[in-house]
């Protein structure tokens, strides 16, 4: 798992690649905490390169959603591949976190 991030028009876009599982979820959590701290108005997680996520990884996504809500910052995810989108839907996360098909769409939405 690797997390890289950059600023896009006030929003931080973090790209997560590889696997997020029970063995590295704590590293993912530390990376997201740094991203949230650095963000001014919004955080977007780009999952295009993410190949696997389990409940341990989704737990971290939910923690981030709660923290951003508390700080009145926006949160969105984008580019979820088939099985990743499926676990997002099964857990109902697509109802509480905006899901966009592309990064450009997500950036436009948080800046709207």
């Amino acid at each position: 798992m690797n997390t890289k991030w950059e600023s896009h028009d006030g929003a931080i876009v973090a790209t997560v690649d590889g696997r997020v599982d029970g063995a590295n979820a704590h590293e993912f959590q530390e990376a997201l905490e740094a991203v949230i701290k650095a963000s001014e108005s919004a955080v977007i997680l780009d999952f295009e390169q993410l190949s696997y996520i389990s409940s341990a990884g989704l737990r971290v996504v939910l923690l981030a959603a709660k923290e951003l809500r508390k700080q009145s910052k926006q949160f969105a995810v984008c580019s979820l591949a088939g099985s990743i989108l499926e676990v997002f839907k099964i857990s109902g996360f697509d109802q509480i976190i905006p899901v966009h098909s592309t990064q450009a769409e997500a950036i436009a939405a948080v800046n709207a």
């Binding site: 029970g22 063995a23 389990s54 989704l58 709660k66 857990s91 109902g92 509480i96």
Partner: protein, 137 residues
């Protein structure tokens, strides 16, 4: 064609990487679609981590994972000698419709497995949990 993969797993978190690698190799040999590899890895992580984290009071233990790949289905059997745990009845159903503020952290693992597999059977026999999962292809 039927093929079988048996793994003896220790109750320590670094075994997860070994399980994942074995499942990926086996899935490639058996020509599984990528989403089946994902489902099997998810089921083994969620249930395996449960056994590792909650199955025993202390100490290092071993449990057994068997995968049986057939033309039209995949069966997963997990046998552990830890405390009795029936994922069909002993795991709380999460409220997946709750608002962000009300969503509890955690509690999704067993639910994922129930949703992503086609069958789930549990029995406690001779002091062991026997869990069987079936995914039809």
């Amino acid at each position: 064609m039927s093929a079988r993969l048996s793994l003896t797993v220790k109750t320590q978190a670094d075994e997860l990487a070994r399980i994942t690698a074995a499942v990926e190799d086996f899935g490639e040999q058996q020509d599984w679609p990528p989403d089946l590899v994902f489902r099997v890895n998810l089921a083994l992580e969620e249930l395996g981590m449960n056994i590792m984290n909650h199955g025993y009071d202390a100490g290092l233990h071993e449990f057994e994972i068997t995968l049986i790949s057939e033309d039209d289905s995949l069966t997963i059997e997990i046998v552990d000698g830890g405390r009795p745990f029936d994922p069909l009845h002993d795991a709380k159903q999460p409220d997946v419709g709750a608002a962000i503020e009300d969503r509890p952290i955690g509690g999704l693992g067993v639910y994922f497995v129930r949703e992503m597999m086609d069958e789930m059977h549990y029995k406690r026999e001779r002091g062991k949990n026997h869990l069987t999962l079936v995914s039809r292809r």
